[in-house]
Amino acid sequence: MTNLLASDLDHILDRTHDLWNEIGGQRIFITGGTGFFGCWLLESLIAAGDRWHLGTSAVVLTRSPEAFRDREPRLAAHPGIQLLAGDVRTFAFPGGEFQYVVHAATEASVKQAVEAPLEMFTTIVEGTRRVLEFAHQHGARKFLLTSSGAVYGRQPSEITHLAEEYAGGPNPADPTSVYGEGKRSAELLCALYAKLYGIECKIARCFAFVGPHLPLDSHFAIGNFIGDAMRGGPVRVNGDGTPRRSYLYAADLAIWLWTILFQGENCRPYNVGSERDVDIAELANQVVRTLNPGLRVEIAREPVPGRLPERYVPSTKRAQAELGLRENIDLSEAIARTARWHKQRAISGSV
C-alpha cells in the first residue's frame, strides 16, 4: 500500500524533527481523531513514530470506530492507533497515564448550528470539560485545544488581518453564534484548568484550510470549488464572490498544531491559518486555472458597489515570530495537491 500523502508527510517531518523526542514512548489521547484535523494529526504522528521509532501510540476517541475503519482502514489498522468508542461529553476514561491530550473534536457543521444549536454548543462546552477532566485525572502535562477564529465574532471589514489581541466576540444572543461562543467557553475552561491544576493548555485558533481529507461536498467554499472543477465544472460561487478568505495547506496545519502543542506558551492563543487572502471569486478562478483552465466560473450575484468586503483572515504574526512557523505551500499548489489526492483515492479505493 502506498501512502498518497507520502510527500506531504515528509514535508511535515522535515519541519518538525526537533519536536518529537519528548513524546518517545508516550501515549497521546486524541479526540476528533477521525475528522480533517484528526486525520492529519494521526497521519503525521504515525509517520514520525515510524521514522524515528518513537514508540508513541495514540488512543483516539470517536463516536463510530466502524465508520473510521471503513474510511481510513490504513490508519485504523496501524498498531500505534487504538480506537475508543464514545461521545466526547460522556466517554468512559481509559486507564493509564496520558501526558499529552489533543482535543480536536470540532463540530463545524453549519447544518448542525442551524438545526441543533443546543447540541452543538453543549458538545463543545461539556465535551471540552470532560476531556480536560480526563486530562487532569490522567496526568496530562500538555493539552491542545483546536479553537477557532470564530471566537472573535465578525471581523470588522476595515481590519485586513485579525490578530490575537483583537478583543471582539460573536453576538451571544444570535443562535448562529453557537460555534464561536462554544469555542470561547472551551478556551475559558482551558484557562481555568491550567490555573487550577497546572496543565499547560495550548490554544490554536484555527481559520480555514485546504488539503487531502477535506470533504468536497460540505459547506467549505474551497472544497466545493475543487469538487465542481473535478466534475468538469462549471465552478459555482454562491453569493457575490466578494468575501475574503485565506487557506493554509493541511500539511502546514499539522506542523503548526504539533508545534503549538509542544512549544506554544500556556494559555496564549495562536491564530492558525494563512495571511494570503483572496476574494471568493478569485479563489474560484484560481481553482479553475490550477485544475482545468477551460472551465467556466459562475457567480450567483453581482456585488453591491461600494460595500466593504466581509473578511475572515488571520494575522499569524504571533505564531511566526514566537514559534517560527511559516506558510510553506502556496494556494495553487495546495489546490493541486488536494485535487490529486481525491483523484487517486477514487481510483485506489479508500487507501
Binding site: 465578525r154 466576540g169 453557537v178 467557553s185 478556551e187 475559558l188 475552561l189 484548568y193
Partner: protein
Amino acid sequence: MSTSVIDALQNDCAGSAGADIRDLLPLRGAHILITGGTGFVGTWVAQMVAYLNDCHQFGIKLTLLSPHASEFSSRAPHLACRADVRLFDGDVRNLADLPQESEWVIHAAGSPDSRIHFSNPVRTMETIVSGTQAVLNAASRLTPLQRILSLSSGLVYGPQRWEDAPLSEKVFSGFDCANPAGLYAESKRAAEMVAAAYRSQFGLPVLSARLFAFIGPFQLLDRPWAINNFLRDALRGGPIRVQGNGETVRSYMYGSDLAYWLLRLLVSGKIGAAYNVGSPVGISLKDLAVKIAECFPRRPSIDLNTLPAAGIPRTQWLPDITMARTDCDLRVQTNLDQAITRTVAWHTRQ
C-alpha cells in the same frame, strides 16, 4: 420592619411604575416564578408585585425559587410572610421540575459575587451555564408558559474603554476568553447562547436582560462593589475608603426601577432580544462617595487611594438604553440623588 419603611418601599414602586400601569395588565392574575429569587433582584420584583397586588389588585402569585429560601425571611420579612409570595427551596443545578402553574419566568440565579466565583471557578461556570440550561429545559415543559426573561450581565461586552460610547446591544465586543479573569462574563455569554439556542431550536419564548449596576434597599453591604462598601463605611461613621483615585465612572439604577423594567421586558420585550438594563447617567466614584457622605448629618470623611491604582487605565461602564426605550418606552424614573437618599434612609432605619 416598621410600617413607615414598608410604605416607603411601596412609594418607590409607585414612582417607578408611574400612574399608568396598563402595560403590565397581562400579568394580572398570573403566576410568576423567579429563580435565584431571594437576592437583590428577586426581592425587588417581589416588592413590585406586592405593590401591584395591594394598590392595583393585580392578584399575581409569585414563587421565589432559591437554595437560600430561608434567608429571605430575615432579609425581607414583610414579603416572606405574604400569602401571594411563596418560597420554594431549590437549586437550579439539580432541578427536575418548576412549579407547574408558572406562566412567567424570570431566571435570576447565579451570584455576581466574584469572591464566590474564584473559589470554585469551574463549578461557577457550570452553575451559570448548566443552571440556565436546566431552567430552560424545565420551562419548556410548562404547559401555561408565556415567557422567560433570563438575566445576563452588562459585563458580556468586555471592558469599556474610556473613549468608547455607552455600550449598545448592537456592539459585539468581547474580551480575551483564554483568561480566567473573564470567568463570570464568559459564563454569562454562554448562558445567553444557551437561551438563543433554546429559542431557535425549540421555539422557547425567551429573551435576556443585561444588568449593569444598581443601588437600593435590600443590597447587602458586605459585597465587593464600590457602592456597597461606600455605604457600609458611611453607616459606620466613615471614613469612606475609595480604592484608586476615584475617577472610575459607573452608573446606578434604583431597585424599584430595575423591578419595573424587568416586569415590562418580561411582558413586552422582543423575544430573542437582549436588553441593557441600568442607568445611562455616569458618575465618578469620587463624586459618588461625596454624594453618599452628604446624606449624613455628621459627614464622614473620604479617603482616596486606599489601594494603589497606578498604571490602571481609567474605566467606565455605562449602558446605552435606547433599545429598552424604543421597544418598551422604558425610562429611568428615580434619579441618583433620590436613589442614594432613599437607600441611606432605609439602612439608617433598619
